[in-house]
């Protein structure tokens, strides 16, 4: 062991190096296969639904309502229920979420109360959705006596669930607006409220909307909380208002998957394709908004 330079050429060193390179390749392959396996599962899942459901989608399926006959059952009743529920959700969650985000980011003093608000918003974003269903059942239906199974109660429950998502996205978007914009507005005599509503909020709007759409997409696919408030009624005519009994698209999938009749399998897969198409459109729109209006300051 006189000259270290010799060690690099010795057969033991070469062997050790080869072993290390082999382990490097194994590790890289392991990573690649993890990504590949996840992707394969995604392809398998969507492929199964496409093969099972594509044949079931036709005009009658898209315009019909639920029925005990698999051949005449359609998704329009459930889609309309979903739309009404989503309208209630966005009308409540978007203004509330944006206003809360503005307050917390621009006006809130630093004290224990505001810390409590922040902690509770961060936690609400991670609370299991079924807990919101229990809240809706206990407060909206049993305590306030609102109509069971209605898009009104469903929308209110989902709004409570979506609001924290919008607040968090909104705060990030508002934080990204550079202080120089605020300073410029304040310097020409605008009040803080005017600065925020005339200058900061319009610039943060694309970011807020992206967050809102993603939150809405999550709410659209949600089933568990709506199960709690009884939106699993058999509805053979589409609901005409937000207080009528209704069902939503994910719930229709759940109900059909429970049917004994094997012919409903195709309907279930077809309804899943319709739901995935909605979600894909919403997420695509969110990505488009982000790319189109994203500003690097």
């Amino acid at each position: 062991m006189s000259n270290p330079a010799n060690n690099w050429q010795s057969p033991e060193a070469e062997k050790r190096l080869a072993k290390r390179y082999a382990s490097e390749r194994r590790f890289k392959l392991l990573g690649l296969s993890a990504v590949g396996l996840s992707m394969a599962f995604l392809v398998f899942l969507i492929g199964t639904m496409l093969i099972g459901g594509l044949g079931g989608i036709d005009w009658a399926f898209l315009t019909g309502s639920d029925s005990t006959e698999p051949d005449s059952a359609g998704v329009w009743g459930a889609v309309k229920g979903s739309l009404l529920t989503m309208i209630v959700t966005i009308v409540l969650a978007l203004p509330m979420g944006v206003l809360a985000a503005v307050y917390l980011e621009e006006f809130a003093p630093r004290n224990r109360w505001i810390d409590m608000v922040e902690v509770s918003i961060n936690n609400l974003a991670a609370v299991p959705s079924i807990i919101f269903g229990l809240l809706g059942l206990a407060v909206f239906i049993n305590f306030l006596g609102m109509p069971r199974s209605s898009p009104l109660v469903g929308g209110m429950t989902l709004a409570l669930m979506t609001m924290p998502v919008i607040v968090i996205a909104g705060r990030n978007a508002i934080k990204a607006v550079p202080p120089s914009i605020r300073d410029a507005a304040l310097a020409v005599g605008a009040s803080r409220v005017q600065t925020v509503f005339h200058h900061v909020l319009p610039l943060a709007l694309p970011g807020i909307l992206t967050g809102a759409i993603i939150g809405m997409a999550r709410a659209l696919g949600e089933t568990a909380p709506l199960l709690m408030i009884g939106m699993r009624a058999f509805v053979s005519t589409p609901p005409s208002g937000i207080t009528d009994p209704a069902t939503v698209l994910p719930m229709q999938i759940f109900l059909w998957s429970d049917e004994v009749d094997r012919a409903f399998v195709q309907n279930t897969s077809a309804a899943i394709l319709v739901l995935l198409a909605f979600l894909l459109t919403m997420n695509g729109f969110a990505i488009y908004l982000r790319n189109k209006f994203e500003t690097r300051w």
């Binding site: 490097e24 995604l42 899942l45 809360a100 807990i131």
Partner: protein, 450 residues
């Protein structure tokens, strides 16, 4: 006057007030710097003075008037024939109210129909009084607001104070939701625990609500086994290795495409996963169990639900791992590489240990997500409470039982339905603790490298 019409009327008055005040402010604006606030602010000031007192009046009247209507109906001659017994009388009265709203409804008690005219009369009388009260308040508020308007009046400051109160109220809604969740869960569980002892609930090993035994240990075990063990065995290696590959090895273009693709997994609704688990994965798992030599395995197995749940969780683990690996300073990586370590050695010996707190926090968030997951277990895991470590056995979870207990048609205050709220309380408590610890770890970890 109906409520929506009254609200529209109040809004209309507010609009008129806005226009009037703005016009007055414009008249006062005699020259440069004559006005303290913009005319629009004067408009909003008057509109608020018209609408807020009127709305407060409507709310107050809404709280008071049912009692007044009740007294008036009872004082009516038609009510003299009502039975003196409170419960019976209230039943007839509530039917009369329903009939007054909707003449087509069928009445069970014959006495109810005679009361309908009295109810309608009382309702219209007190409705008119309420509307009059709201309008008086609107005009009084408007009149007061109008007299305050002058060139030097600081309308902007006043209006913005109201805006700030509105913003504060919106952010308090989040606290209100949390309080509402805790209060409703505690309240209903309190009733449950007055019927069933908490000791039996937490330590009992037999769960059969139909027979009145509420030992929840098998549910807790099923939840942990499916959500925290099987799902994590799938999600942690796949999520972590995907994150490592995508951040350290993949070409930026590949990464730009693969990362959103991976996130699609998190965006697929859980009901779709549940259907997939029940229809496709569960039969495969059963065939596999038969091949392994198990007798008569059930179609609903913990393994099928846990596997699919694990796939769903992959993006959570991988994006948290991604963030925490990216937060490790570049200098640490460069130092390791400069010493002659290969990339995989750097990752294993330097990056992962440095990023470990963030990764652990991500795993905790993923567990809290998995144990609160409902639809996959409802559709694939089974209903029988089973205390076993056999992944091919049918197992039930906390969320499954909540759904099971609350979707039947049973009376609301039985121990059976109330136990769902006790389970919800446990679930909420556990996920809350996991989330708080994880968020705190992430925060401290970020500070350490900044």
């Amino acid at each position: 006057m109906t409520l929506p019409a009254l609200l529209v009327l109040i809004a209309g008055l507010g609009l008129i007030g806005w226009l009037v005040a703005r016009a007055k402010a414009q008249r006062l604006n005699t020259g440069r710097n004559a006005l303290h606030s913009l005319p629009g602010h004067h408009g909003w000031y008057l509109a608020l003075w018209i609408m807020l007192p009127a709305l407060a009046g409507v709310l107050l009247w809404g709280a008071v008037s049912p009692g007044l209507i009740h007294t008036a109906v009872l004082a009516d001659p038609a009510a003299a024939s009502l039975p003196a017994f409170d419960l019976e009388r209230d039943a007839i009265l509530s039917e009369a109210y329903t009939l007054a709203e909707d003449p087509g409804a069928s009445a069970f008690n014959p006495g109810a129909e005679q009361l309908v005219p009295a109810v309608i009369a009382a309702k219209s009388k007190f409705g008119a009084m309420g509307a009059a009260l709201a309008l008086i308040l609107a005009f009084a508020g408007g009149g007061f607001g109008y007299t305050r308007l002058s060139a030097s009046f600081q309308a902007r400051t006043k209006v913005e104070r109201v805006v700030l109160v509105l913003l504060l109220a919106a952010s308090l809604l989040a606290v209100l939701t949390t309080v509402g969740i805790i209060a409703s869960l505690l309240f209903e569980s309190g009733i449950f625990f007055s019927k069933v002892s908490p000791i039996e609930f937490i330590f009992g090993t037999h769960w059969s609500p139909a027979n009145g035994s509420f030992g929840a240990v098998p549910l807790f075990w099923g939840t942990i086994f499916i959500g925290a063990i099987i799902a994590m065995v799938v999600a942690i290696p796949l999520g972590l290795m995907s994150a490592i590959y995508l951040t350290q090895y993949a070409h930026p273009n590949v990464r730009r495409w693969m990362k959103p693709m991976l996130e699609i997994l998190a965006g697929i609704p859980t009901v779709v996963y549940g259907y997939f688990a029940a229809l496709t994965v569960a039969p495969m798992v059963r065939d596999f169990a038969v091949m392994m030599g198990f007798d008569n395995p059930s179609t609903e197995s913990a393994l099928a639900a846990g596997l699919v749940m694990g796939i769903m969780i992959i993006p959570f683990v991988s994006s948290m791992a991604d963030d925490s690996i990216a937060a490790v300073p570049q200098a640490m990586r460069d130092g390791s590489l400069a010493m002659g370590a290969t990339r995989s050695e750097t990752i294993k010996k330097v990056l992962i240990p440095a990023a470990l707190p963030g990764i652990v926090a991500g795993v905790m968030l993923a567990i809290s997500r998995a144990i609160g997951e409902t639809m996959i277990v409802v559709m694939a895991a089974g209903a029988t409470a089973n205390l076993s470590a056999n992944p091919f056995a049918s197992m039930t979870t906390v969320t499954f039982q909540i759904v099971q207990l609350l979707t039947g048609d049973q009376e609301f205050d039985s121990a059976k339905t109330l136990s769902a709220f006790a389970l919800g309380l446990v679930l909420f408590g556990v996920t809350l603790i996991l989330n708080i610890i994880a968020l705190r770890v992430v925060k401290r970890f970020r500070e350490a490298y900044e």
